[in-house]
């Protein structure tokens, strides 16, 4: 089992706040879905309430624009690749605002972690 980490805060002292940092197993993913023109969401079984979900919001370029209409599909592939990755560390960082780590087609600004 590999684990994934997402962090949406760029302030080190805020890491213990609610809705900023989450670690979860790759088998907890419920789906990855396009939410609107500039948002794709990864939905995860809730860590505190298994009848609820945690949501990772991935911002990206406008998929309704002709020049960037493939971004929605590409970021889903980015997410799938990261989720299934064979990380030797045992975990994969999906995105991390503190260290400017993100998926290739992701825009870090506005990307967020929402816990159940």
């Amino acid at each position: 089992m590999k684990y994934l980490i997402a962090n949406d805060t760029s302030v080190l002292a805020d890491l213990d706040n609610t809705d900023e940092l989450l670690m979860f197993g790759q088998n907890r993913i419920l789906n990855v879905e396009s939410f609107d023109d500039t948002t794709t969401r990864i939905q995860i079984q809730g860590q505190r309430d298994t009848d609820d979900n945690d949501i990772l919001t991935l911002k990206h370029a406008d998929k309704s624009a002709a020049a960037t209409h493939k971004v929605e599909r590409n970021i889903i592939d980015d997410a799938v690749s990261a989720i299934n990755s064979d990380s030797r560390l045992g975990f994969t960082v999906l995105f991390d605002a503190l260290n400017n780590v993100k998926l290739p087609n992701q825009v870090l600004s506005g990307s967020s972690v929402t816990e159940d």
């Binding site: 990855v32 023109d37 079984q45 979900n53 002709a66 599909r73 592939d77």
Partner: protein, 278 residues
């Protein structure tokens, strides 16, 4: 544990035979995300539905003279002129069983209906009122069928990327695939293909113990191939991207997984694919 992911784009499809016109005007049943993947907003009568990403197609179920608006001259499927040399009338406004008319003009529709409702005017009214005139309207009978079909990704049908919280593309881990359920459909596409419906169930994305349904409308008898396709995707061993089952992009380009061989062709005859909840 790694698992392949399956990707679904959206193509709304609403097949409604037996519409009963009232005073020659045919109001289709209300479309919804559940029954068709479509929820078009109330359309101004100046707007051609084609500009909104969907088309409204009429399929004649019997022979009646003088009912088709003069604007429509060619069969949508065959391209042939509507003039039938075997008919004594031989006018393009006569409908014959099986003829397919793409109601491609804004003037065919009566505006002011509620969201999700399309009303088709007749061709008999005088005065040229929109939706009911000899040019754009179509006087239907209950033997006819009307098909509303999305042909490109667009917000306007109600299932585009910006339509509130109605998403248009979903990727599910195959480990969350719960099963494929054939559902009675018994309808015919405008090209004459008999259709079936299969519901693909996945663990709900909100963790509430229910399932989400991807509804697939496809050529009749393809259920065995469809489930073999799902098995092939589940065991494909591809983990670095999602496998497209069906997709429809903003340019109208369709992508298919294909049948069990994953041929990337429309082996299943898919004409509609949508998630039944927003």
């Amino acid at each position: 544990m790694k698992t392949p992911y399956i990707y679904f784009g959206t193509k709304g499809y609403f097949n409604t035979p037996g519409v009963a016109p009232t005073s020659n005007v045919a109001a289709l049943a209300t479309m919804s995300i559940s029954n068709s993947g479509l929820l078009p907003a109330s359309k101004a009568n100046s707007v051609d539905p084609a500009t909104l990403g969907y088309r409204v197609v009429h399929v004649a179920g019997n022979d009646v003279d003088d009912v088709r608006g003069s604007l429509y001259t060619n069969d949508f499927v065959t391209g042939a002129l509507f003039n039938d040399p075997d008919d004594s009338d031989v006018n393009q406004d006569d409908k014959f069983t099986g003829q397919v008319t793409n109601l491609s003009d804004a003037g065919a529709f009566i505006a002011g209906s509620a969201n999700g409702v399309i009303t088709i005017g007749d061709n008999t009214a005088t005065g040229g009122s929109v939706g009911s005139d000899a040019t754009n309207g179509f006087t239907m009978t209950t033997d006819d069928t009307v098909i509303v079909e999305q042909f490109k990704r667009n917000d306007a049908p109600g299932n585009g990327p910006s339509a509130g919280e109605l998403s248009s593309a979903y990727a599910y881990p195959m480990c969350n695939f719960r099963g494929a359920n054939p559902v009675a459909y018994a309808k015919t596409h405008y090209d004459g293909t008999v259709l079936d419906q299969t519901d693909l169930h996945f663990t709900s994305t909100v963790g509430d113990g229910t399932t989400h349904i991807i509804r697939v409308i496809h050529t009749a008898g393809k259920y065995p191939e469809l489930v073999k396709t799902m098995e092939a995707i589940a065991n494909c061993g591809i983990y670095n991207r999602a496998i497209t089952f069906y997709d429809l992009d903003i340019n109208g380009v369709e992508t298919f997984a294909g049948g069990p061989s994953l041929s990337n062709q429309n082996d299943l005859g898919i004409v509609g694919c949508w998630r039944t909840v927003a």
